[in-house]
């Protein structure tokens, strides 16, 4: 195993790990809130990916300074901006999901997917 490669790409490894954990949460867990947590973890992994991609080794904050003329000397601000948008989307999504969970709990008294499907079938 190429340890040097592993550590050089450490962030990407963590990103992948988080993606997988998030996916597992969304699919493998029965509780709706846990699914939501899985989604959150998944989305956070994506944020991490973008932000890491913005990194410039030795770069400074993306505020224009006459001393640093080359673009490669600044951290790329664009991914940060994109992620701000994505975070807002994520927050909104989580908000909607939590509201839905409240509504579901009020109607069915459970947040367990299997139990829910059973009760829904009885309603049809």
């Amino acid at each position: 195993m190429n340890l040097a490669g592993f550590f050089a790409n450490f962030t990407y490894v963590v990103t992948t790990l988080l993606l997988v954990i998030g996916l597992y949460g969304m699919i493998g867990k029965r509780n709706l809130i846990k699914k939501l947590i899985g989604l959150s973890v998944f989305q956070t992994a994506i944020f991490l990916f973008y932000i890491y991609g913005a990194v410039q080794p030795g770069g400074t904050v993306p505020v224009w300074d006459a001393r640093f003329a080359a673009a490669a000397q600044y951290i790329n601000p664009l991914p940060h901006v994109l992620i701000l948008t994505a975070i807002v989307v994520s927050v909104a999504t989580t908000g909607v999901a939590l509201a839905l969970s409240v509504a579901i709990y009020r109607r069915y008294g459970t947040l367990d997917e299997t139990a829910l499907l059973e009760r829904m079938k009885r309603d049809s």
Binding site: I46, F49, L78, P79, T85, M120
Partner: protein
């Protein structure tokens, strides 16, 4: 530079903000503002289409920032066509929304209108934008609105909405991850710019990963078999007005994104030869066509039958795209318009049935042909079109898709298209038999009359539209779709 591209989502966004304010004064005013905004968007879309056919693509730079630095909105024949389909169908759905929402979801009347407008704004924004990340923003606007709208329906609606949310957000996240890969590989987010910059790096793993991620994301949003799991419940339990809004256009816009990305941004040869993405899509679509039709036959609930039918129909679009030839693409795009009209009409009918009888079971259609003659005349036209009887529109989508399949020489696709027509006949004629041949049920005779005008008018307009689309399809194909298709495949 012209303003028309941005004037398509803009009135919808503006109206979305004004509707709650208007609603505080008077509910009817809220609906009126919504209709006005939607009508304006549709008008601009049609105007834009006319201009594009006459003069060529229209560009708009947001904030006057030139691309590729700034965000650009483009109306080319493809996006203009999609914009017209989305806004016109959206307008008719909003007309229908008013009486239906007043009956089914009265305490959400005003907010329902506002969120519906946000949905339309998101969808039309997705269609006109020329920037990959901007597309994500609009995608999420539309998706969140959809989750919320689905949730205000029946008792089971929030659960259906939750599943839709999880799967939909997964899709959106995959998309943004894919765009991230593309950005880091090419350094740009503007579609045209990325297309140029991709040229030397098609072999890089980042690009391939990006392609696969975006494809999976859009396949999920499009409910392409086997990623369709969120659709049946969502369409079944949503309020009738919402089903009529989402079902015709939501999945189509996702299909549009696939077309735009894999034929417009990536070179077609990438998705065909380099990684067998389009072939994979076409096979899954063929399976989806049959799967959706078979599942639809087994349903007792009219809405669920229509939902599975939608899975099958969007797979036609997937098949046309995946076939990778101009005729197939023409068939796919024509079917986008045709199916929008057909499915909207059918869901409107289901909603009208529920409005008058409170029921949604197919068996309760018995004898309704006499009690609601106009509504079910429209149903008959839409059903015959879905089966593929000329001269209704549905026949012509199948015609072009068949021609495309013959061109590719794939017998399985041919078989899938023909078999699905028969399967469609099976589940629609069950409904038609009940409607006309069986005697009526036990409902109170006096209560059941024709649907109210506000619901009947859009239904009938769509039914007429189905016939018009069918008869005039050649005009649409030669003026708009063939240029798009041959343009894309020439690259």
């Amino acid at each position: 530079m012209t303003h028309i591209p941005v004037l398509i989502p803009a009135p919808l966004l503006l109206a979305a903000f004004l509707v709650p304010l208007a609603g505080m004064l008077h509910k009817g005013l809220a609906a009126a503002v919504a209709l006005a905004g939607s009508a304006a968007a549709a008008a601009f879309a049609v105007l834009g289409l006319g201009k594009v056919i006459a003069e060529g693509p229209l560009h708009y730079e947001l904030g006057n920032w030139p691309p590729p630095v700034g965000i650009e909105y483009i109306l080319d024949p493809l996006s203009a066509f999609m914009a017209v389909v989305v806004t016109v169908t959206g307008f008719l759905s909003l007309v229908y929304f008013r009486p239906s929402a007043r009956h089914e979801i009265p305490d959400r009347f005003v907010t329902g209108h506002a969120v519906a407008l946000l949905l339309l704004a998101g969808l039309s924004g997705m269609v006109v934008t020329g920037d990959l990340f901007n597309l994500f923003v609009f995608l999420e606007i539309a998706s969140l609105s959809a989750y919320a709208l689905v949730a205000i329906g029946d008792k089971q609606a929030p659960v259906a909405a939750f599943r839709y949310l999880i799967l939909g957000s997964l899709g959106g996240s995959f998309y943004v991850l894919g765009v991230g890969f593309l950005y880091f590989a090419t350094g740009s987010l503007n579609m045209a710019d990325v297309a140029e910059r991709l040229a030397p790096i098609y072999h890089s793993r980042a690009v391939i990963a990006a392609a696969v991620l975006i494809a999976v994301a859009m396949a999920l949003k499009m409910a392409l078999f086997p990623l369709h799991l969120w659709l049946p419940d969502a369409y079944t339990y949503a309020p009738s007005a919402v089903a009529g809004l989402i079902a015709p256009i939501m999945t189509k816009v996702a299909a549009y994104v696939l077309i735009r990305v894999f034929l417009g941004v990536f070179q077609p040869s990438f998705a065909i030869d380099h990684i067998p993405l389009l072939p994979a899509i076409s096979w899954l679509a063929a399976a989806g066509i049959i799967f959706g039709s078979v599942m639809a036959i087994a349903q007792q609930d009219l809405r669920r039958m229509l939902a599975y039918s939608s899975v099958s129909q969007i797979a036609y679009v997937g098949l046309g795209l995946g076939m990778a030839n101009p005729l197939g693409l023409v068939g796919a795009l024509l079917h986008v318009a045709n199916h929008a009209f057909m499915k909207a009409c059918l869901f409107f009918v289901a909603g009208s049935l529920r409005y008058r009888t409170g029921s949604v079971r197919i068996s309760d259609l018995a004898g309704m042909g006499r009690k609601m003659p106009w509504t079910f005349a429209a149903f008959t036209v839409a059903a015959l079109s879905m089966i593929g009887i000329p001269p209704a529109a549905g026949f012509f989508s199948k015609w072009y898709l068949l021609l495309g399949a013959l061109e590719v020489g794939n017998g399985w696709f041919v078989a899938a298209i023909l078999l699905s027509s028969l399967l469609n006949a099976a589940y629609f004629f069950r409904g038609l038999e009940d409607l006309y041949a069986k005697p009526g049920g036990k409902e109170d005779e006096s209560r059941v009359a024709e649907a109210p005008v506000g619901m009947l008018m859009p239904t009938l307009l769509l039914a007429v539209g189905i016939l018009v689309l069918g008869l005039l399809n050649s005009l649409i194909v030669t003026e708009m779709l063939m240029p798009v298709a041959s343009g894309m495949y020439q690259r």
